[in-house]
């Protein structure tokens, strides 16, 4: 195997709460190779976003750490570009200007004016959004805005692309369409991607590897599943593929048998109280 590209070692994340420290993540160990497409899957509140935010540098692990290409991660940076769930485009800038803001910041010194312009245009074409370059985010659909969010992240030439439920807020058809686009782009650029999802089909279809996380608190890596399906993958033909079905079942079994969330099924208040608390620190993490 090639050299480890990104490594998480013994990551623990504890949040201070009025009731004392709340340990969201405990002893997460992960090694990711260059060009791998990794999905993080788990029930809501299990700390998937916290893992992503630690890799992004938006949060600092209380124990352990994250090393990218031999350098410790302790602050955010464009080499770990993030695609946010709700596109997070500046509503007062046009589509072009949103990407420009990123390109300007990252390649101010290394690219000429014309070169930057071409690069912005190239990235908008990559996600099929060049036609709407002059529009504001409010004037395009949610799916289109999310494409621009991806274009902005890709335009930073990140060594790792971090995606926080990038298609979670979209309708099913748009989501399928964007998933296909993302696969094509990934095929072409061979980026390393870490994507958070709670959509089993999305995880199996897109990933080289699925990291399944146990329920919080003290969530950790439960299972690590390699998806050995040939690319390019086609959602329609894969639907009957026995291997695909097997992978899918594997993930479903983990989520709904091994890590079943009790409080969804049992009447209120009889479920594990800690599990419902899991939501809170996650929300805090996102705001931090």
């Amino acid at each position: 195997m090639s050299k480890t590209h990104l490594e998480l070692t013994g990551v623990e994340m504890a949040f201070d709460t009025p009731k004392g420290p709340f340990v969201a993540l405990d002893n997460i160990n992960l090694k990711i190779q260059k060009g791998e497409f990794v999905s993080l899957i788990g029930h809501s509140g299990c700390g998937k976003s916290t893992v992503l935010n630690i890799v992004a540098g938006l949060l600092q692990a209380t124990k352990g750490g994250c090393v990218l290409d031999g350098h410790e991660v302790n602050s955010p940076g464009p080499e770990r570009a993030v695609v946010f769930q709700n596109h997070a485009l500046m509503p007062w800038l046009t589509v072009y200007e949103n990407v420009e803001l990123a390109v300007q910041q990252v390649f101010r010194k290394s690219m000429g004016k014309q070169e930057r312009r071409d690069w912005i245009h190239h990235n908008l074409e990559l996600v099929n959004m060049a036609h709407a370059a002059d529009k504001r985010p409010g004037e395009v659909s949610g799916g289109m805005a999310q494409r621009v969010g991806i274009a902005r992240a890709l335009a930073m030439k990140p060594s790792v692309l971090l995606m926080d439920e990038p298609f979670g807020a979209l309708d099913a058809l748009t989501r399928a369409h964007l998933q296909d686009s993302l696969m094509e782009i990934q095929q072409e650029l061979n980026n390393t991607v870490i994507m958070i999802t709670h959509d089993v089909d999305e995880a199996v279809l897109l990933s080289d590897r699925i990291i399944m996380m146990t329920n919080g608190p003290e969530a950790t890596v439960g299972e690590d599943l390699y998806i050995d399906l040939p690319r390019p993958r086609n959602r329609v033909t894969l639907a009957d593929n026995p291997e695909y079905v097997h992978y899918r079942q594997e993930v479903l079994r983990f989520l709904y048998e091994k890590q079943r969330k009790l409080e969804h099924i049992s009447p209120r208040r009889s479920g594990k109280p800690e599990a419902s608390e899991g939501e809170q620190p996650k929300a805090r993490a996102a705001r931090a």
């Binding site: 992004a56 946010f84 997070a88 509503p91 007062w92 910041q105 370059a133 930073m156 705001r287």
Partner: protein, 335 residues
Amino acid sequence: MTTITSAKKPSQPPRWLGQRFRSLGESLTPGQLAATGRQMLLPLIGILVFVGFWHLAAPQVDTSLGSFPGPAQVWEQSGQLWQEHVNQRERADKFIAMQEERNARILADNPEAEVRIRNYPGAPTFPDQILTSLVTVLAGFIVATAIAVPLGIVVGLNRHFQAAVNPLIQVFKPVSPLAWLPLVTMVVSATYVSDDPMFEKSFLTSMITVTLCSLWPTLINTSVGVAAVNPDLLNVSRVLRLSFWTHVRKVVLPSSVPMIFTGLRVSLGIAWMVLIAAEMLAQSPGLGKFVWDEFQNGSSQSLSRIMVAVLAIGFIGFVLDRVMLLIQRRVAWNE
């Protein structure tokens, strides 16, 4: 690539103008014309009903200066005030012409002579007072904005700073202009001592009072707007490693522009109200002094003239707010 070039900043004002013109053109369709007509009709009815009620009710109210003026008397007095203004201007022009003539004569006799150029000594007319008030309110408002917006940004960005400043804001915000006025007057007369003053002391007193009373809404709204920037956008800024200034310029400021403008509009409204009160109390030139002088004058026309001033004050306040709204539409991205 040309399409991209045109997408950049320079093309924006024309695009905005284009939209304006398009919306003007669209409003000319018959359906929209009817809608506009309906929009105009109801306010018109409201005004007519008010004037009718005023006309009927005014003679019923007796004061020591005669009955309360109805719309007809007020209309007459507004014409009168304008006429006085025109007359005064003519006299002023004559005065200036005579003075120049005299000075020319003196200079012809003795080129070394020192000639005196005096301003026309006549009392300021109603339009003059309006102008004075407008200049004062705008000066006070601009100074208030120049203080409140940067301070609001700092307060909004820094939680510790906010905690330190917040009690001060809460205490000073509800203070009436009348309470500030004596203090401001004394401080201005003590500190602003100059042989050749750039501004009148009365102007400074009114302006500073306006500033002190009108900066709070802008300050509070700016700080709230700055503190409420979408956390995702803040994360984008962190991922991009924007410098502090770029962060403020490209993320914080545009994001809080709508809130800042809400504050500015409230501030301008307060500034205009405060100014009239300050001018009345301090006897500094302006609409407030006009109202006070007429009140002291106590002639049979005084009430009508004060009513003219009341309507003028209201109308100017309305126009000021509209102007701010236009600027807001021009600047804010969410309009």
